[in-house]
């Protein structure tokens, strides 16, 4: 009789396991490492405040009213080893107006990392595969309905230098194929060449700054007076993409 209930217990446990939707990422040693990623919209290093006046490299005043971008294929690496430390494939729409879109948690398999990479934008295949869901839902306002394709990143605001009648600027940057594609691979090294060691049952938080000011001045000089709006893929959108590729930096790495 004892053995009988033992079998049932086993079956029960098996059921429990198969029921589990997401299996915890535990390393072979049974240890669990957690990395918390925070994307922090900033202007010149300071946390973004909507509608607050800023001044860009051309001396142009501006305020920000919307800032969103797609992140995917986020991965932590150890450049001294081949195996990825942690990663996920899903698309995330980071929206400066919605706090919980700006941070998320990854489970790691390995304990040491020294660089971090992700893709800014939406892969070409997801642009040509019809109706999508989740963060790629076309109702999120990041899909061009007249010229199929995702807006990879969007920045909107106002400036007295804008030549648009209502003084706004709207940069909707997209394009998924050809020389003008606006998808960018972002690779960020850990500051000062450090090796970050994750510790069992502790959470390590990586804060990544996304500096809006770089949209105007990074690889290219793009004043508001020259271009107050970009609403289609093309050579101008590509220049903005080059600039926003330079907006990211690792601000801090802390352990709780």
């Amino acid at each position: 009789m004892k053995t009988g209930s033992g079998y049932i217990l086993c079956a029960f446990l098996f059921l429990l396991c198969s029921c589990q939707k997401e299996l915890k990422n535990e390393s072979s040693t049974g240890k669990s490492y957690t990395v918390h990623i925070v994307l922090r919209p900033v202007v010149q290093g300071q946390p973004l405040i909507f509608n607050q006046p800023y001044t860009n490299a051309f001396g142009e005043d501006y305020t920000v009213t919307a800032f969103r971008f797609y992140v995917s294929a986020l991965s932590l690496q150890n450049n001294n080893a081949d195996v990825p430390v942690a990663g996920e494939a899903k698309y995330r729409l980071a929206d400066a107006a919605i706090g919980n879109t700006l941070s998320f948690t990854l489970s790691a398999n390995q304990s040491i990392f020294n660089s971090l990479s992700f893709q800014l934008g939406v892969d070409s295949i997801a642009n040509v595969s019809g109706a999508q869901s989740g963060d790629l839902d076309p109702a999120k306002g990041m899909f061009w309905t007249w010229n199929s394709g995702y807006i990879m990143a969007k920045l909107e605001g106002a400036s007295s230098f804008s030549t648009v009648p209502n003084g706004s600027f709207t940069y909707h940057i997209g394009g998924f194929s050809g020389e003008n594609k606006a998808i960018r691979s972002i690779v960020l090294a850990v500051p000062e060449g450090r090796q970050i060691a994750l510790r069992n049952n502790r959470t390590t938080t990586v804060v990544i700054n996304a500096d809006i000011d770089k949209w105007f001045h990074a690889t290219h000089a793009l004043s508001i007076a020259d271009n107050a709006f970009v609403h289609s893929p093309g050579s101008l959108a590509r220049l903005y993409a080059d600039n926003y590729a330079a907006m990211f930096s690792v601000a801090s790495i802390t352990e709780e």
């Binding site: 029960f12 019809g130 109706a131 010229n147 199929s148």
Partner: protein
């Protein structure tokens, strides 16, 4: 002792059952989906749209049809998809050069007929839409068409118990999303296959052309088929057919999408199937008869830097040939399609 073991055994079993139940995603099974087959006409090539991740069913088709005919997809309730895509006009807009949209506005182009859309790689006159499933987004949110927002349309549908039930049947869950709505609409629109005209019957050997129709077919093959390629009667390419630019619309066509000056004034080659049902003609509906279109190619082509080489020097078509051609084009009307009750609004 024995009793306690039995009780704990029963408890374990119960626990197992409970977990099994919790594991099931959708506990109660709705009416089973009736599979619907997409039939490719024998002469046709492989379709571009293959219903991947959108398996067609009778219920999915019916849901798509309900959405297609539902005014609630527009802001003021007056502009369902069917307002610009009328079945008796092979799902084009009958007798309107430009269709009408929200708040007494005109659209900027002539609504094309909807048939054999599953064979189109790109949609719209400028090819701006790269996948049939995302096409409805364009008219839905355009301010001069249905003038709605996706969120608002979804909220309206979600409020309707009949829709909730239909979405649950088709997609397994009452929660309506833009993705599900678009997939359902596609199950209807992609099923609009037109391949039963007299021309098709002649090709299948169950009918024969009159002498005039046969002569017209010869003219068609010699002078039109390079762009209006059989059996779809379009090669789905983009070409500048030498139409002078309308000064008000200033429509640059394909270049609007690609940004490439070489694509200036290029528009999608429309299918000639059902051509007698879909008048007027041209991307802006400027031609009120097929004869006027043929005359454009005979006398009216304006040659510019991007004008297609096939029409640049006009096309020589005699008056006799024109009459024969018109008779042949009449054989492309698919009355069975235009009158198919399956595609009509369910009362």
């Amino acid at each position: 002792m024995m009793q306690r073991t039995v009780i704990s055994l029963v408890g374990l079993l119960l626990g197992c059952l409970l977990f099994l139940e919790a594991c099931k995603k959708q506990g109660t099974a709705a009416a089973p989906l009736v599979p619907l087959q997409f039939i490719v006409p024998p002469e046709f090539p492989d379709p571009v749209y293959k219903f991947e991740n959108n398996t067609p069913s009778r219920q999915g088709f019916e849901l798509g049809k309900k959405l297609f005919y539902d005014g609630r997809l527009s802001q003021d309730g007056n502009f369902p998809c069917a307002s610009c895509h009328q079945q008796f006009a092979a799902f084009a807009t009958f007798d309107h050069p430009l269709s009408h949209g929200f708040n007494n506005q005109f659209t900027t182009r002539n609504a094309p007929g909807l048939f054999n859309v599953a064979w189109m790689k790109e949609l719209h006159w400028d090819g701006g839409i790269n996948h049939i499933e995302v096409q409805p987004l364009a008219p839905l949110i355009a301010e001069n068409e249905m003038a709605e927002t996706m969120d608002h349309v979804i909220a309206k549908l979600q409020d309707d118990a009949a829709y909730r039930q239909m979405f649950k049947t088709v997609f397994g869950d009452e929660e309506i999303s833009p993705q599900k709505m678009l997939k359902a609409l596609t199950q209807f629109v992609a099923m609009l296959v037109s391949a039963d005209s007299k021309y098709d019957k002649v090709k299948r050997g169950t009918a024969s052309f009159t002498e005039t129709e046969e002569a017209g077919y010869q003219v068609f093959q010699a002078k039109c088929a390079a762009c209006h390629a059989e059996p779809l009667f379009t090669d789905n390419s983009f070409r500048n057919t030498g139409l002078p630019v309308n000064d008000i619309l200033k429509d640059i066509g394909r270049m609007h999408i690609t940004g490439n000056p070489a694509d200036s004034l290029k528009f999608k080659v429309p299918s000639l199937r059902n051509v007698y049902a879909t008048f007027p003609y041209g991307h802006d509906g400027r031609f009120y008869s097929i004869g006027a279109v043929i005359d454009h190619y005979r006398f009216g082509v304006v040659s510019g830097p991007t004008t297609d080489l096939l029409v640049k020097n006009k096309i020589t078509i005699s008056d006799y040939e024109k009459l024969d051609l018109l008779e042949f084009l009449r054989t492309l009307t698919d009355s069975a399609f235009i009158n198919n009750k399956n595609f009509a609004q369910t009362e």
